[in-house]
Symmetry: C2
């Protein structure tokens, strides 16, 4: 049940930049980076957008090669493709995440939510 992902060398710079150029998706990536290593499921991001819209944005991130999505039961476990991105575009993800970390204008994940660490 593996969803379609580009291989590392299929990842395109303009597509990655365009995909990260959306505030909702940038907020998702920032949150994924802040929990690096921990695979998160879609519901974590429900305060950013509707379920349907989230599905759309998470598909964009996956198709661009920014995230990896594993289907486990009815859940999707989402992780950052850090090694592939670092190999392909050294330093890019780090600088984007560092810059996003400072950004008060970006939507926040886990502010209206019950924030229970599972």
């Amino acid at each position: 049940m593996t969803l379609p992902h580009p291989t590392a060398d299929q990842i395109s710079l303009p597509i990655v930049l365009a995909v990260l150029g959306d505030p909702t998706r940038l907020a998702i990536v920032r949150y994924l980076a802040s929990k690096e290593g921990v695979p998160l499921n879609c519901s974590k991001f429900l305060d950013l957008a509707s379920k349907t819209n989230l599905s759309y944005h998470l598909a964009k991130l996956r198709e661009a090669g920014v995230t990896r999505t594993e289907a486990v039961g009815t859940s999707r476990l989402i992780t950052l493709r850090r090694d592939d991105l670092d190999r392909r575009f050294p330093g890019l993800l780090d600088s984007v995440i560092a810059a996003a970390g400072e950004d008060k204008a970006l939507p926040m994940v886990g502010t209206a939510d019950t924030e229970i660490d599972a």
Copy 2:
């Protein structure tokens, strides 16, 4: 005759990423970086797009704070806002330019042209 530019602190990360997410604009930025220090005029980029369309893309770059545009006579001298971008988003421009440098899929500036160094 100074055209409107955002101040350094008005430069927004998602807007910069979205603006760089267009292949034509990324090619412009790559070329500007390759000639860093040398202000270029719009005509340098005529093999990327029509005059009208270039005007549009160069305005996007300027409004996002990626480039600075000086009006000199009937020309516009365009430079990268490297210091402002570096201050605001350390490492970002460098990693984008390095990644773009390798990218064979991006359109090229100065391939069909008469390439006379003025």
